[in-house]
Chain length 347, copies 2
């Protein structure tokens, strides 16, 4: 029996591979979509030409539905005092690595969804577009809808789910606290509002009249079954795909995911300026995972970049964002299609 979401976007299996910027490109999306799930292309860290190139790869490789994902943060306002505070918090590490604080690189290209990206959607007409950190402005959103795409967006509270329903999304991703990577929260910044999947999912299902996709903590077939029991129309799985052959997860990240340390993740704003879940490492321990000194998303990564590079060159992930959910037990170094089949084993 197909769920409402399966019918809506014509997928064989009610399983979405979570878009994970920085650790995957089109290859993972293609593998998952071709195997009957919904593969996702994360665009948060891609330039416009890269997005075009990746979409060309997807559309030439499979005619199955796929999802393209964008961040919808407000562009940050530069603040010299906060920049200085953040640089100051990192100063001891610059000294330790013999780095020059004057050589902090310019901000990387991580623009929110805008007119240029919409133009690409008009060109490729992707079947599904998902957003994180809320939705783009109304005119942009209408532009996306006009391409014919089904629109998904993450909600981390019941209030966010209701807000999204009122704006006409086609389905809601209930992102439980267990999920790895960035919290999709957009109606507030207080992380105590964030709710575990088992509690969040049924409350969102009860609150809205849309298909709900469960995300956070799902790592195997039993987890998929439990989410469907709780009223989910599909699940979104991220962490379990991080070791897959098609993921571009860096060796240090892969190593961390299979280490005992993967059992301890925390929400941290140190790496980007927004709370995201990753494996606890040195900088998170030193500064505390949540710092008031951090500059707004996505600028925090700028001053960290030289430290990250220097440490990684020494084989250390002390300054690397090791995104991971609270259940890494499903991570397996196998082809994504095989992982997808194992997730679907009880359907």
């Amino acid at each position: 029996m197909s769920s409402e979401l399966q019918t809506l976007i014509d997928i064989e299996l009610p399983i979405i591979q979570a878009p994970m910027a920085g650790v995957q490109t089109s290859a993972l999306a293609i593998a998952v979509s071709a195997a009957g799930g919904l593969g996702s292309l994360p665009c948060a860290m891609l330039g416009m030409q890269e997005i075009r190139d990746q979409l060309a790869l997807i559309t030439s490789a499979t005619d199955r539905p796929y999802n393209i994902n964008f961040f919808c943060h407000r562009p940050p306002v530069e603040d010299a005092a906060r920049n200085a505070a953040w640089q100051n918090a990192l100063a001891p590490y610059y000294t330790e690595f013999g780095l020059d604080p004057g050589e902090v690189p310019e901000a990387e290209d991580r623009a929110p969804f805008g007119e240029e990206a919409l133009e690409i959607l008009r060109e490729f007409e992707p079947p599904v577009v998902s957003f994180h950190f809320g939705l783009p402005a109304d005119d942009l959103l209408q532009g996306v809808r006009a391409t014919g795409a089904r629109i998904l967006c993450s909600a981390t509270t019941v209030a966010e789910a209701r807000w999204l329903e009122a704006r006409g999304v086609d389905a809601i991703i209930a992102q439980g606290l267990e999920a790895g990577g960035h919290r999709g929260m957009f109606l507030g910044e207080d992380i105590t509002t964030q709710v575990g999947t088992l509690a969040l999912l049924p409350q969102i299902v009860a609150a809205v009249d849309l298909p709900v996709i469960a995300a956070g903590g799902i790592s195997d077939a039993a987890g998929v079954g439990a989410a469907l029991d709780l009223g989910a129309s599909a699940v979104q799985v991220g962490t379990a795909f991080l070791l897959c052959d098609e993921a571009t997860t860096a060796p240090l990240h892969r190593e961390a995911l299979t280490s005992p340390g993967a059992a301890h993740t925390a929400l941290t704003n140190l790496f980007s300026g927004r709370p995201a879940r990753g494996i606890v490492n040195r900088i998170m321990r030193d500064l505390g995972p949540i710092s008031d000194d951090v500059v707004p998303f996505p600028l925090a990564s700028r001053a960290l970049a030289p430290l990250r590079s220097a440490a990684e060159a020494r084989g250390s992930s002390d300054f690397t964002s090791l995104w991971c959910g609270q259940n890494a037990s499903g991570c397996r170094a196998i082809p994504a299609a095989e992982l997808l089949r194992s997730l679907a084993a009880q359907l």
Copy 2:
């Protein structure tokens, strides 16, 4: 088909009513046990005579199995500097209510499980004894085992579950982050180690060779089914029972549970000194839910008590611990037996 836990303690339904100190006595336990679940008597805030009286009530009312619950914290060490810091943090409220800081009452009777309580167990031979905050010292634990009781204890991490298994408990309560009231954490104090139920439960099930009881975020029959899907041998439900006729939940607490505010809970150490989940109220907003100034468990409640009384006399729960999990949607003002039947509806 009976689960391993049902066989172990001879209960008809794989549902435990969570022990909730301060909001219930024997009446709730009796109602649940008589209806086929496992009712629990929380002893954390009871004196020895009260425990005897409550056990006498239970054993005269039902011959079904019941659970008696104790806290296993280390007795706090008084520290004048910390006491002063905590009193100082609360000073503005003392002024606001016209209270005299010199009149802070003595600590209430909240001793950890000890020899006196063991003597009561020898007398009543309860079928099940559960512990929170770890286990009592080895000699005490052996004393409990010698009474013939099945021993349960909460684990909030995989490491805690393994620790408990090594010490010979009969079953483990996997307490997910969603749960209301005190976190049972005992191998550390870092709340970032705490994991959502959907992620914690299957990892504990995989790690130990004992029946596992799922707790946190379960509020209805679908939640019970999901937990069993994930390998739980039973569930423990607390919050949903808070409005039941047999609970002694205070009117202000009941009011909060049915208000929109119940959607926002947080872990806070303000009320006792240990992290516990409750509905966010004024003092949690003012001081932040987690304060470094707070004195060790259970002493924090001492200096708060006069404020709580004064505010409650004005009809305000600004200083009241409003324990509640992340899913209050199952709270119903009905007899506990009826709630239990609804939780069991899909079994």
